[in-house]
Symmetry: C2
Subunit: 189 residues, 2 copies
DNA sequence: GATCTCATTTGACAAATGTCACAAAACTAT
DNA sequence: ATAGTTTTGTGACATTTGTCAAATGAGATC
């Protein structure tokens, strides 16, 4: 992927960005192709990048009694990273590729700096945070107000393809139930 | 509360704000004193304000089978509002005073506008979103990884005074358990 | 195609939590 | 202080979900 392709792709993710800001961002971006299972951001390490998923899928997880528990999944066209990364702290979660994927890697520190001098960037970051907060609120709502069956229904209604692309073990932990319980939810249906 | 007191209080909440932005915000703020049980933001209505809690406490809740289920509590020195409000949509939750309270009411639309022209405001909003996202992530983590006993422990460790100021019924729904279960958790201790 | 490995399903049982009914305690107003 | 109201606690039982063990299924490798 050359610079002008990179630019095109970035425009897709950041439609209202100023030409000048785009150039600055391109300077601090790179294209990345990697295989299933690759760790993008390891737990406990400082990490300076956020990623745009061009192709593939990614999960974020914590370890609980040496078992992975998923916090989120992301597919194409999403922007991913961890809150700690953006704040400059060590990541609490591990971010890992679920499939062979293509990504664009952005230096978050450079972007954070642009925030001080470029309104289109600071608004862009504001929008990212807003979207992230809305995602978290929706998820919290589901965990607090829906039973496991309803949460499963909501997930496959929202992202039907998740079933083809993510293991039921990961989906179960994301929904907050054991593998076996998810299996029974699906059998009852 | 006169304008210069208002200004002082706002400075406490927004320590790095530019003098000029502060003046603009003061113009679109007002002081508010109201009694326990008052609805600050009703569910289903568009609302144009966020609030700073000078004194008192506030809860946010949804209705589930005509029972209130708490989403969050806030005490003094916190900034509150709903995501929908900030985005200009109807609020999904009801925000209500838990005690007689004193608040400062800020027009969020004016503040959102300042975001386009004033970096100290856009950074301020960015910080608010960040803090909110971190709060939500922590809460999500607790719901997904801790059992009800651990969540109760975490709450009273984080905010011990909550027990004196919020009913156990509200606390139970916030923790995602029934009143009776919370009662038993407390008895076992 | 046979074998191996890993993911998923199923059964049996235990543990946690919800629900309903009622008792005890704390708080209000007179 | 008393009566009434609201909040909190407790017991009995039903339901949901977790855990462990084993069986089945699907995909990869040779």
């Amino acid at each position: 992927m050359n610079n002008s392709e990179l630019e095109e792709t970035l425009k897709f993710y950041f439609p209202n960005i100023k030409e000048e800001s785009l150039n600055t961002i391109v300077k601090h971006s790179s294209y990345l192709k990697s295989t299933k299972g690759t760790t993008l951001i390891p737990e406990g390490k400082r990490h300076h990048y956020i990623y745009l998923i061009v192709k593939g899928s990614v999960k974020s997880y914590y370890l609980k009694k040496s078992k992975e528990v998923c916090v989120w999944f992301s597919l194409e066209n999403e922007i991913i990273g961890t809150t700690s990364t953006i704040q400059g702290n060590a990541s609490k979660e591990t971010i890992e590729l679920l499939e062979d994927s293509e990504l664009i890697k952005l230096n978050i520190e450079k972007i954070n700096k642009l925030t001080q001098t470029d309104f289109s960037i600071s608004n862009l970051l504001n929008n990212l945070w807003e979207k992230h907060a809305i995602f978290l609120e929706e998820r919290l709502y589901q965990l607090q107000f829906m039973n496991s069956y309803e949460r499963y229904e909501a997930l496959i209604k929202d992202t039907p393809e998740i079933l083809q692309r993510v293991s039921l073990t990961d989906i179960a932990s994301f929904l907050g139930v054991s593998r076996e319980t998810l299996s029974r939810i699906r059998a009852k249906k």
